[in-house]
Amino acid sequence: MARLRLVNIHKSFGEVKVIDGISLSVEEGEFITLLGPSGCGKTTTLKIIAGFAQPEEGEIYFDDDLVNSVAPNKRSASMCFQSYALFPHMSVYNNVAFGLKMKKVPAEEQKDRIFDALKIVGLEKYPDRKPAQLSGGQQQRVALARAIVTRPRILLFDEPLSNLDAKLRDKVRIEIRELQQNLGITSIYVTHDQAEALVISDRIVVINRGRVEQIDEPYRLYRKPETSFVADFIGAANIGKGKVLGIEDSFYEVETEYGIFNMEKEGGKTSRSVGDEVFFSWRPEDVEFYREGLSNRLEGVIEQSIFMGNMTDIFVRVKGVRVRGQMVGRIYLKETEAVTLRVDESNFRILAGEVKR
């Protein structure tokens, strides 16, 4: 178990800059997820931690040890591969034994540790099977057992669930989380699936174009995105542009394309002055029916209303702008019907940076 620290990592493949100054600090026993679209540099970051790729610039620390020049086979950072990378010519037992043999663990101890690891992942009944005789979920577990049996300082996961079907994925990600909490191993998990990241992580690092956009706990990341990229990438969001009209104690008064709204001050690292252009976001589920005496009215016409089972997705045209709302259960609103909705000031987020569409 170890802390992990990345300091200003840079990496290019030829002309393409893949990682553009990533810094990151992971606490002992923490489960951290690198989240971003494909090609954002998250897997390369993982490979740099594992030692399969060398950064052009920057430092990697396990605890206080600089490991830049440590070979991958000496790093003690076990990886679970997207493809599982099980050795096809070896039994389950020998796959799990591989790391122990390489570390020259005594044979008797090997056996105990292998069966302990297999028990943890629930595969103690199949030590003699070949990987090809196992289902995808079972192969995943073998890969996990193989990674934890060597008692690594850090566990690395490279989209380990992307080859499983949706139901199994939900199940295994909870198991991975439980396992990690029981063992207390510092873990770095790479995924492009925001739902997976929200479920499994202590903290999430959102990466875009080789840069860190935001590092936060899942709840804060969802409710308090700092950039338009984060707001857009995690969950659905209505993102817009406005101008600060006035500043009150707890909120800004912002003029937008579809009305004037009060937006909570908290968040958005920089303070704004009157006349500033700002980007803002709110979540579809933040709409509610308007009640007399409250602020932040949205008057519009229903363009589309889609019943989704547990909720209804509504698309509303407000002064020419189409916004998306979601309400729990079935909402009896028909197309072309006029509605008056509102979004509370606490649900508006003022964002940093440009809107990328």
């Binding site: 594992a50 030692g51 399969f52 070979a71 991958p72 086979n73 000496k74 950072a77 076990s78 990886m79 591969f81 997207q82 493809s83 990378a85 099980l86 050795f87 096809p88 010519h89 591989f98 790391g99 390489m102 570390k103 070949k130 090809a132 005789q133 193989r146 060597t150």
Partner: protein, 282 residues
């Protein structure tokens, strides 16, 4: 049901019939000839008389010589082709060019290869002249037409490296890079990765490469004729002598059958081992 089978037979006939006629008929004729039938010269009569030659000293020497050259070339070539294949496996500077250059012998006929190498290793060839000029040896080494067949082995290895390289490279290409990464990640060093992951997973390719080169060299004519010893000589060389020099077509046929049978035995070995390996890896 019966007519369905007949239909299948009839549909297959144009293709399969062609193969059957031209391949099988040649095989069968050779076998019959070795048994004294269909004799081109003299009378035809069924007899095992010609097969008695397999107990003759000359026959045994030729057979053992061919076996030695076959096995020696197959594994001797592997000694070079496998490390080269490993080296060329990962992309690197100049490797593409090197990979192409190394394939050149593949496109040169065996006889021409033999002559090329003769210039190199003959009694007054380049290597001997060089060694003498450097004062390393006082008189030339006999590397060509030597009793053991080193000259033949040398030429065979030179000729067959690119062939084995092709087979082994494609076999290595099927091994995914992340298996290597996984082994490294679990603490294996580069040698252990090769010994425990790459070699075991490329055994089917190695087998094909070794067996195909064995079959080709076991039946070799041209290279033995040029670079081989005067006696013993290879099965094919001897077969031609029997037929052309002694007009013993039936005896030549016996040798032909033995060459084919040996090849078949090795192929069946190969299929058995390959099947076993496949079951193992399931």
């Amino acid at each position: 049901m019966k007519s369905e089978k007949l239909n299948i037979f009839l549909f297959l006939l144009p293709g399969a019939g062609f193969i059957l006629f031209f391949l099988a008929s040649a095989f069968i004729l050779t076998i019959l000839q070795s048994l004294g039938l269909f004799t081109l010269i003299g009378e035809s009569k069924f007899t095992f008389e010609h097969w008695k030659m397999i107990f003759e000293q000359e026959f045994r020497d030729s057979f053992l010589f061919s076996l030695k050259v076959g096995i020696g070339s197959a594994f001797g070539t592997l000694l070079f082709s496998y490390p080269i294949a490993l080296y060329l496996r990962k992309k690197g500077f100049g490797k593409k060019t090197l990979g192409s250059l190394i394939k050149i012998p593949l496109f040169i006929p065996a006889l021409v290869v033999a002559f090329l190498i003769v210039n190199l290793i003959s009694y007054h060839g380049l290597i001997n002249s060089l060694l003498m000029a450097l004062g390393i040896i006082d008189e030339p080494l006999r590397m060509l037409n030597d009793q053991f067949g080193w000259g033949v082995l040398f030429v065979q290895v030179w000729k067959n490296i690119p062939f084995q390289l092709l087979i082994i490279s494609s076999s290595l290409a099927t091994i995914r890079d992340d298996l290597e990464d996984a082994a490294l990640n679990l603490g294996a060093n580069k040698l252990q990765v090769i010994g425990r992951i790459i070699i075991p997973l490329s055994i089917p390719g190695i087998l094909v490469a070794v067996i195909l080169v064995f079959i080709m060299t076991f039946g070799d004519f041209a290279i033995t004729k040029v670079a081989g010893p005067v006696y013993p000589t290879s099965m094919s060389v001897r077969m031609l002598t029997e037929a052309m020099t002694f007009q013993e077509w039936n005896r030549a046929a016996v040798m032909g059958v033995v060459i084919m049978a040996t090849a078949l035995i090795f192929v069946s070995f190969y299929t058995k081992i390959a099947k076993l390996l496949q079951e193992n890896s399931k």
